[in-house]
């Protein structure tokens, strides 16, 4: 299935725009009981070695936080999965988020994607929100994709 993309390259869509309606939602549990180890995996993969994410002594004694906390970009990366699992791979034209609240070791994160608009040209707008185990939003944002009609 070939997605029509502005650059002409083919994506690997999982659905057609005509199969989506405004208000359709999907939820995905991104992680349960986030470990410091996963935070370290992300530091290594991304190159972000800000000690606030992996060095407990720095985060607590120097910076005054209760513990290390996850990179916002780790949550952004995980949150993208709710969109790509639903719409497909290589179909996004935009993805942006705001980092609302910190994410801590032990957190369980759930992402919810909601279709905000569907265009006749196959353009789809999706709102995303990721919440922690207390239901508090940690990341909010939106993604745009182009799907087959």
């Amino acid at each position: 299935m070939t997605a029509a993309k502005p650059s002409g390259s083919s994506g690997f869509a999982k659905c057609k725009a005509s199969e989506l309606a405004v208000g359709d939602t999907r939820e995905l549990v991104l992680v349960e009981n986030l470990s410091r180890t996963q935070i370290v995996m992300y530091a290594g993969a991304s190159g972000d070695f800000n000690p606030i994410h992996h060095d407990e002594v720095f985060a607590t004694k120097a910076a005054g936080y209760p513990s290390v906390f996850a990179h916002g970009m780790l949550t952004m990366g995980m949150t993208g999965r709710v969109v790509t699992d639903w719409l497909g791979d290589g179909v996004l034209t935009e993805y942006g988020v705001r980092f609302v609240k910190q994410v801590w070791p032990g957190d369980t994160l759930t992402a919810k994607a909601t279709i905000a608009a569907v265009g006749a040209d196959g353009a789809v707008l999706v709102d995303v929100t990721t919440v922690n185990q207390a239901g508090e939003p940690v990341v909010t944002g939106r993604a745009k994709a182009v799907l087959p009609r």
């Binding site: 070939t2 502005p6 190159g47 070695f49 993208g80 790509t84």
Partner: protein
């Protein structure tokens, strides 16, 4: 405006996908991916941020001291990256991040990356004090000079640790 290389390789993609909890074979299984219109594995949507590994101006690489391959002048316009690149790591937070995609990143691409400063603005913090926001815009171009990805990062400097 300093530029640096960013070669895309499949082990880096695999490592990044694992770190964000991805099991989708499109990120690591080239036999699977070759059967899709994408032709090969692709990088996850936020993978572009890992160009930091190759950025000689990056302020958050920790104790690693690998010099840049090209002699690039340290740019006075280098903008803060994810988490900030400024001196006080106890007070810089990542506020927003956006990506605009022209085509997926795939192994074998050799990109050129350049960052320039965007807007800067202030807001009053909820507990008094000022929040200073700074935007950095990073452009990723392929070997033909075609733009493949744009990343916009907004950092915020807080007056004190953000209470939870």
């Amino acid at each position: 405006m300093a530029e640096h290389d960013f070669p895309i390789d499949r082990t880096a993609i695999l490592t990044f996908a694992a770190a964000i909890g991805e099991t989708n074979p499109i990120y690591w299984d080239d036999a699977f991916a070759s059967q899709t219109p994408l032709g090969d594995v692709i990088a996850p949507p936020t993978f572009g941020i890992s160009s930091a590994h190759w950025n000689p101006d990056y302020g958050l690489r920790g104790p690693r001291k690998i010099p840049a391959r090209k002699a690039v002048a340290k740019s006075a316009e280098s903008a803060p990256r994810s988490g900030g690149g400024g001196p006080n790591l106890t007070r810089v937070l990542h506020a927003e991040q956006r990506f605009e995609y022209k085509k997926p990143l795939q192994p074998g691409m050799r990109l050129t990356v350049s960052t320039h400063a965007g807007k800067s603005w202030e807001k009053d913090g909820k507990r008094g004090g000022k929040l200073v926001f700074t935007e950095g815009i990073t452009e990723y171009r392929d070997e033909t000079g075609e733009l493949v990805l744009v990343a916009t990062s907004v950092s915020v400097i807080t007056g004190k640790a953000v209470d939870q």
